[in-house]
Symmetry: D2
Subunit: 279 residues, 4 copies
Amino acid sequence: MFKSVGLVARFDQKPALKLTEELAEFLTEKGLMVCVEDSLEGKVACKQGFVPLAEMKTDFIITIGGDGTILRAAITIPKPDTPLLTVNMGVRGFLTEVEPQDVYEAIERTLKGDYKIEKSTKMAVSAGKEELPDALNDVVISTGEPSKILYSEICKNGKPILKCQADGLIMGTQTGSTGYSLSAGGPVIDGEVDAFVLTPICSLTVFHSLILPTDATITFNVLRPEKMLVLIDGNYRKTIATDKLTVTVTKSKHVTAFIRFESNFYDRLRNRLLFKGTE
Amino acid sequence: MFKSVGLVARFDQKPALKLTEELAEFLTEKGLMVCVEDSLEGKVACKQGFVPLAEMKTDFIITIGGDGTILRAAITIPKPDTPLLTVNMGVRGFLTEVEPQDVYEAIERTLKGDYKIEKSTKMAVSAGKEELPDALNDVVISTGEPSKILYSEICKNGKPILKCQADGLIMGTQTGSTGYSLSAGGPVIDGEVDAFVLTPICSLTVFHSLILPTDATITFNVLRPEKMLVLIDGNYRKTIATDKLTVTVTKSKHVTAFIRFESNFYDRLRNRLLFKGTE
Amino acid sequence: MFKSVGLVARFDQKPALKLTEELAEFLTEKGLMVCVEDSLEGKVACKQGFVPLAEMKTDFIITIGGDGTILRAAITIPKPDTPLLTVNMGVRGFLTEVEPQDVYEAIERTLKGDYKIEKSTKMAVSAGKEELPDALNDVVISTGEPSKILYSEICKNGKPILKCQADGLIMGTQTGSTGYSLSAGGPVIDGEVDAFVLTPICSLTVFHSLILPTDATITFNVLRPEKMLVLIDGNYRKTIATDKLTVTVTKSKHVTAFIRFESNFYDRLRNRLLFKGTE
Amino acid sequence: MFKSVGLVARFDQKPALKLTEELAEFLTEKGLMVCVEDSLEGKVACKQGFVPLAEMKTDFIITIGGDGTILRAAITIPKPDTPLLTVNMGVRGFLTEVEPQDVYEAIERTLKGDYKIEKSTKMAVSAGKEELPDALNDVVISTGEPSKILYSEICKNGKPILKCQADGLIMGTQTGSTGYSLSAGGPVIDGEVDAFVLTPICSLTVFHSLILPTDATITFNVLRPEKMLVLIDGNYRKTIATDKLTVTVTKSKHVTAFIRFESNFYDRLRNRLLFKGTE
C-alpha cells in the first residue's frame, strides 16, 4: 500500500502548477504523506513540505508535465525503481499515461493497487571509469558545437564495428526510440524487443539506424575533435577529453517503473505520433 | 564430414557458369558426390549429373551468385538447414562470404571442418491456414500494382496495433534488414537481436520502421483493395483475396545455416554498404 | 462570365454522389448549362444530361472528391486549361480548395468572378515519338512488378547525368511534390519555383531527391528489365519495351487552372500535411 | 590576363602545406605576383610574402583543401567574385575541381584563359538591420546547444508560411544542397534551378525539405529559446537575442566564381557522393 507520494511538475506552465497544488491537497486529505519537489517552493502551496528531487524517497511519484518532466525525475530520484504515475501536461507527452481530467480516478486506482507496472529498460553509461547517470531515453554524444562533425569509432564487446562521421550519435533505449532518435530518422522499437538503437545525426551513411542487443557493451571512441559532450536524457551534460576517455553503454540493473492502466505502447503511439488524416 | 555437395548458380553471368563448371570438376576430384542445379543443364558441364533444386539433399550447397541466388536456394531446397557456402558473383552480395578468387581455399577449409555456422532466423508465413514458404529475408505485401495504396491493419498477437496506408509493407528478418527494408528506409539489425522489422514502402507515417519481437504473431489484415500480392524473398509470389484471408508471420522452426570464416556481419556491412570516402 | 459547368465526382462515396446531384440542381436553377460526367449516370440524377469526361467542354468544372478525382479530370478533359473548382471529399485532398459546407458560397463567388486562378505547371511526356498525356502531378516509371529493380540512366538535355537502381522513379511537378514523391521521401516545392523533382523509390542513393529545371529535357533510358510501366498521375498506364523506347519529360505548354479564394499553398500544407501536436 | 594569385590552404595537413609551397614557387617562376594567406606564415615558405585572407585582392585565388577551405575563402575575401581554382585535398571535396596531380595543368589552362566560370548564387543574410556575411553554402539557425529544440516561424515575403520545431534549420543554396542540408535529408538541387532549400534538422515534420524561390525574402522568427546561434558556411557565428531580432535571407548580389574545366555538377556528384557498388 502506498503511504507517501512525491509531486514533480514542470515549472513553466500555470495549469501544471495549479494541478500540482490541487493534487497535494487531495492526497493530503487521502491521508498520504505528500512532498513536493523543492524547486516549486513559492510557486505552489503544500502544507506538508518540499524536498529536493534527489531526496524524494516516497512510495510513488506523480509527474505533472511532458516527457521532459519524466526524464528529469527518472534521472534524479534516489530510488530509481520508484513507480511513476505520469500526468500529461506536455506538447506530445508520449511517455505519459493520464490526461489531466482523469488524474483523480487514476490516483484512486493507484491507491487501490488496480494498475500494472511497465518496466522500462535503462542504459548504464560510463566515461572511462566514472559512472554517469542511467539513461531512460538516450545518450547523445556530440561535439558540443552545432554542425561540427564528430569522427567516431563504435565498438561492440571491444571489437570495432563501425566508423561514423556525423553531427552526433544517439544511443536510445526502446523507450527512447520514440524520442530524439525518432526525429533523427530512427525506428520505433516495441518494448518487448531486447534492443537499443544507434542513430547518427546528420550523417551520410546508407542506414538510418543500427539495432543492437542490450546485452552487449557498446563503446564510443571519438577520434576528433578533442572534446565531446555527453548528454543523458536531455538533462545531464558532461564534457570529456576525447583522447583520454571513451564512453561505454550497457544495460542498467535498474529500470524505470511506470504505473499503467489500460493504455499500452501502441495506443500511445497512435494518439500522439500519427498524422492528421490517418487513423 | 561432408560427402556430397550441390552447386547453385545465377544463370545470366558467364563467369558464374564457368566457375560452377570448374568447381564441379574440382569437387569431383576431391571425391565428393557433386550435383548441379538442373536449370544449368546445357549451360554447364558436370559428369556426375543434375538435380532440381527442390530435390538437392546434399550435405552442403555452394551458391555462386549474389543475394538473389542465395534467397532462391534458401526458399527451394528440401532440407532448409543445409549449410550454404556462398560465393559472391553479384553486384553487392551482402550475404555472401567468399570472393571468387578465394573459393578453393574456402572449400578446403570447409571440408576440413575449419568454419563456423551462422544461423539466420527465418519467418514462417501463412495465408489463412495455408503455409507459404519460409522467408530468409522478407515478406512483402502489396497491391501487386505499382503506386496503388494498400490499406492495412497490423495485429500483434491478435490485437490491432497500427493501421497503415502505404504502397506496401516489408516484414524483414535481421538478415533481411540489409536488403529491401534498408532501401525503404529501415534500420540495420544486428544478428544477435531477436527482432523483425516492419518497414512501410512510400508511407506518410512518422516512423520509418517498427522493430517487433520474433516471438510474437504478426497478422496483416488488408482492408483495401480486394487483392494483395504476397512476395517472399523476391522469389515466391501468391495473390490473395483480402476479404477472405490474412497473412500471418511468426518465427520459423528452421534457420538458414551459412558457412562463415573470419568475416562477420560488420565486416560485410563495411565492405558492401558504405560510401566512397567513408571508412 | 461562366455559362456552362461540368460536374465530376468520385464514384465510391454516397455523400459525393448526393452533393453532385444537389449541385446539378442548384446550378440549373442559377441558369447554367450543366452536364455531369457520364460514368455517374444511374447513380446521380441530372435533368440536363451527361457527357463523357473527354468531351466536357464547359466553361468551368467542379470536382467533388479528393486529389484522385482532380487528377482524373485534369488528364481527361478536352480543354486542359478549363478552370477547376475543387471540393474536398477525399481523405487528405491536398489540392482541393473548398470544404463541402462552403461549396455554395464558393460557387456564388466563382460566378461573380471573385476568385483567383492558380496555374499549375504540367509535364509533357513522350515515349519515343508518341505523345502521352500531360502530367499534373507525376510520371512514375517502374518495372510494373512489385519490388523488381529498374536499372536506368537519366539524361538532361541529351547528356547522361545519373544512373539509378530503384523500384521506380517518380518525376513530379511542383504540384506533385506533395503527392507520391513526398511519400517516397521527396521535398515540398513552393509553386513559385520553376522546378521538377526526381525521387527514386526504394533506392540506396545518398540523396532522397534531385531538383531539376523545368526548361530541361529529361530522358529516362531504362537498361533493365525488358519492359517498363509508365504511369501518369496514377491514371494513365502504358507498358513500353525498354530496348526500343525512352521516356522523355519536358514542360508542357498547358497548365491546370485552379479556382482559388483566400487559401494558398501553405495554408493547405498546414491543414493537410502536418502532425497532430504541431501547429 | 591574371597577373596576381593568392594561395589559401588547410592548416592541418602536411601534403596541403607542401603543395602550397610548391605552387608558390611555380607561380613565382611563371611571373605572377603571389601571396599566401598569412595564417600559413611559418608553416609554408613564400618569397613574395603573406597577406590576411580579408585583404587578398589578387586576380584569382587557388584553394588547396576541401569544401571547408573554399567556404572559408569565399566568406572572407574582400572581392567576393574573385575566381577560385579549387584543388581537392579534402575528404570528399564536392565543390573542388582539380585533383592534386592535375594542378599544374590546371594552372597552365587557367593562365591561358582556357576555362569556364561557374557562378554560384549566394545568400545575403541579415540579423535585424545588421548585414552578416553572404553564404555560399548555407545559413544554419539553432539554439547553439546540442539537442535543444528551436521553435520558429518562417515567413515568405512577410507572410507566415510554416511553424517548425527542430534542432535547427538549414537554409541552403543550390551549391549548399550537396553539403550539410544533404546530410539532414535534403535533396540535391541542379545549379540551373533558381531555388534555395530549407531543411530542418531532427524534426518530426512530414517533409524532409522545402524548396523556395531565390527571389523571395525568407524570415526566421524564433519563438523559443531566448537566444539563437546563426552559423554561416560553418565559419561565421553570431548569437542573437530571439525576442529582438529576426534573421532574413535573400539572394545576394554577389556570386562565387569557380574556375571549371570539363567537369560539371553531375560528374562531381557521381565521383564523390555515390556508393560503392553503384555507378
